[in-house]
Amino acid sequence: MVDWGYLGTRRFVRPFFNQTVEDCVRHPAGTLFRHQTSLEQLGEIMSSQPSVPPTGFIFHMSRCGSTLISQMLAAAPENIVLSEPAPLDTILRSHFQSPEITEEQRVQWLQWLVGTWAWRRQPAEENLFIKFDSWHTLFLPVIQRAFPEVPWIFVYREPLEVMVSQTRRRGAHVIPGALEPQLFGWEPAMIAQMSLVEYGARVLAKICEAALTHIETGNGKLVNYRQLPDSIWPAFMDYWQLRFSPDAVARMMAAARNDARNPKLPFQPDGQAKIATATPELRALTHQWLDEIYQQLESERRRRGFAGQRVD
């Protein structure tokens, strides 16, 4: 079942998709009066209006600057930017709950859903970006089947900084039981043996490993958090074949000065502060499960990443 909400001309400028949805349904009319259709009708509905084709995808290991990128893109009126839209997760993981759902169905549903979100509701809209949930990196094969030509990036960061961030405020993906163990190739009994911190480290490692695997075979490039945002932004524009007015560029660069998750606050660098608070257990488990994959990502990035981009 597909639940529809009325957006009008509202743009997706909030850090996360669900925030825009909440804004829409906050009004009583948005809560009370909504269309519902079947998923099978979505294709026909999608085709009823022109859509903007997807321009670029953002995958990431979480807490690594991906929201900064999506917020910068959202600052330009030419861009439709969908940040971790929950219905995508519902489709991607639908076969875990309903094994009769085929990959072909999921590919079709992804195309229909994205095509509908990409309806051009404002004349200026020309580009569509999707920032996926971090664990969707493991779904790259089915996403690339649905959208084979779309260039993507995978954003990652010094793993101890990510682990400290996750310890302070855990994302769903690092909580045992929130995601199906078979997504990671694990049996439920394996998870029961892991501590909470170990589980988080191993999930992040799986996400990074998936990115490394698909970078070589797919249409992707690696980005280290430390490259963001100024030095790499022109490279992104070339990679995604984008041309913006000076005003739009100024808006995007101005967005980088805000805290990406709470744009009313200024951005504060926090990498060193995070590392300083890491416990011995956190350091040991991060080293055990993540340091090696991080070095492999760095090596690959230097080999095939954006040319000429310094990392301090």
Binding site: Y6, G8, N18, V25, R26, H27, P28, A29, G30, T31, L32, F33, R34, H35, A86
Partner: protein, 71 residues
Amino acid sequence: MDMENQRANLEGFGKLVLADLELHDRVRAANPDAFAELAVKLGAERGYIFTVEIVREELQKKRRALREKWI
């Protein structure tokens, strides 16, 4: 009029709102605090009779369902 009939009338009015863009824009433009009263008035004008209490009850149900969907 009993509650079931009123709920049916509110549902009927809702279908009208979704089919009529001008009516839709009127209800969307309402001050949220005065929405229930406006819905009752506009519904009655079109032959759909229900009370403010029914509107608020249905709103509460749908908000709860939405919250549960996001958990």
